[in-house]
């Protein structure tokens, strides 16, 4: 299949970017990233600069791949990462627009690669539990109700790719932050630091310059892991309780 690609090219964070068009011959069984690999080999053969894009596992579980394809983060398929998106979902001769995730908090490093360190700093502010390392505990030492465990696990499936920010008209990071707060706060292990966690993570999220959540739900619609906006409501509840009913304040 023959495809026309309109790809965003940008040399660095401080320079402006523009679209360039390429034609590529792809196979419908290829993944989207494999199709880009073909493009890059073509560009290298022509001694032109290949398109920079991020990838790691190519199994849809690491959250490294990104890019906005025809206006959808990770492309038009529901619940699918870019690496798991296959070319059979596109038509022969189609023009595909490929852009980086766009948000001030995710500055472009090069072409389609953006710096998502803002997410790392949100995690650093509270996305962990403080326990001594050592022998792993017996799995059943702390009884947890199955439904609760499943709900926490649903939140924990967030791969932190940033598609929620990319999809949100406000570039809000609430879905990511709420998933990360939720999966720990719902578990007995995370409950110990729950109040401080929600205060710190929301505070860090705000200081990173993401927009505020308007409950548009574009994040849930585009999330490759289909994380629910129920997590956002949960975090709002926990944030109100933490601010109004506890003695605690954000750590910084």
């Amino acid at each position: 299949m023959k495809l026309n690609l309109k790809v965003w090219r940008q040399k660095g964070a401080s320079t402006g970017g523009k679209f360039e068009t390429y034609t590529v011959e792809a196979n419908e069984h290829m993944s989207f990233l494999e199709m880009l690999d073909v493009l890059n080999e073509q560009l290298i053969a022509e001694q032109r600069e290949p398109v920079s894009f991020e990838h790691d596992c190519r199994e849809g579980i690491c959250g490294t791949c990104s890019m906005v394809i025809n206006g959808h983060p990770h492309g038009p398929m529901k619940g699918t990462t870019t690496c798991q998106l296959h070319m059979r979902h596109f038509n022969d001769g189609e023009t595909i627009t490929i852009e980086p995730f766009r948000s001030n908090s995710f500055p472009v490093i090069k072409d389609l690669v953006v710096d998502r360190a803002a997410f790392d700093r949100i995690i650093q502010s509270g996305g962990y539990i403080s326990v001594n390392t050592g022998q792993a505990q017996d799995g059943n030492a702390i009884p947890i109700e199955k439904d609760l465990a499943s709900e926490a696990f649903d939140a924990a499936t967030c791969i932190g790719c940033g598609a929620c920010v990319a999809a949100c008209p406000n570039a809000s990071a609430m879905l990511f932050t709420s998933a990360k707060v939720s999966h720990l706060n719902m578990m007995p292990q995370g409950e110990v630091e729950a109040t401080q966690r929600v205060l710190n993570m929301i505070n860090q999220m705000d200081s990173e310059g993401f927009g505020a959540c308007s409950n548009i739900t574009a994040c849930e619609a585009e999330c490759p892991k289909e994380i629910s906006v129920k997590n956002i409501a949960r975090v709002n509840r926990e944030y109100f309780a933490a601010v109004l009913a506890s003695e605690k304040n954000p750590s910084k």
Partner: protein
């Protein structure tokens, strides 16, 4: 920073203000509508004029009305601030924009600020049409046997205003705008408050849809009735 100021200026705090003021204004809409529906009575405006007199002379209602003005202004200013800040969070725009949503009307959700601005302009013009004319005494006085005081004839002003097709058209368009604003806003207010529950949320969303359609439709019915039916 003081903890309470920090709370109200946090992203969630700002949304809380939008949510609470929005829900209060939904309540105001119901009361306002209930009063205005008296305009559909075939009594020459007696019930409506007496109602208008009570609404402007009861000290408790007066106090609530000042609260309403304050909440309208707060909701509008906070909404404008949020819209500007949210726009600024993405300086370089996408060349292709498609907004898919899961639980709300996508057009309404994206255009809340635009719809809100239309409603704000409407409120200004609407108050100029009636509130100001009443305050500045541009109305004639009327005495009804059923009521002890002489009352201002606001009904006459309504009748005259809704004889103008441009005003009627503007009122109807504004109510369509309000309908979309409520279509997203009503259920969104509950989500912001943290009320997302598998038992209650389907009810809230259904109620929100009904509210967003019925309330503006009944408001719009009044100018349409005066123009075409009465």
């Amino acid at each position: 920073m003081n903890w309470f100021v920090r709370f109200l200026t946090s992203s969630i705090g700002k949304k809380l203000i939008m949510s609470l003021t929005g829900l209060f204004l939904c309540l105001f809409l119901v009361v306002h509508l209930a009063g205005n529906l008296q305009l559909l009575l075939d009594d020459g405006g007696e019930a409506f004029n007496i109602y208008a007199y009570i609404m402007t002379h009861n000290p408790l209602i007066k106090a609530v009305s000042y609260g309403t003005y304050f909440f309208i202004i707060l909701h509008a200013i906070q909404g404008i601030i949020l819209a500007i800040q949210n726009r600024k969070a993405r300086k370089s725009k996408y060349s292709v924009t498609v907004t898919r949503t899961t639980g709300t009307n996508s057009f309404a959700a994206r255009q809340m600020a635009l719809l809100g601005s239309l409603i704000l302009v409407f409120i200004g013009i609407h108050m100029g049409d009636f509130w100001w004319k009443m305050k500045s005494g541009q109305t004639s006085m009327e005495k009804y046997d059923s009521f002890q005081f002489e009352v201002q004839n606001l009904y006459e002003k309504v009748d005259a205003t809704f004889a103008n097709e441009w005003i009627v058209l503007f009122y109807v368009i504004s109510m369509i705008g309000l309908s979309f604003h409520l279509l997203h806003g009503f259920q969104s207010a509950f989500q912001t408050l943290g009320l997302n529950h598998s038992k209650y949320t389907p009810f809230i969303k259904g109620l929100g849809k009904g509210f967003a359609i019925i309330v503006p439709a009944l408001f719009a019915l009044i100018p349409i009735y005066y123009m075409f039916i009465k």
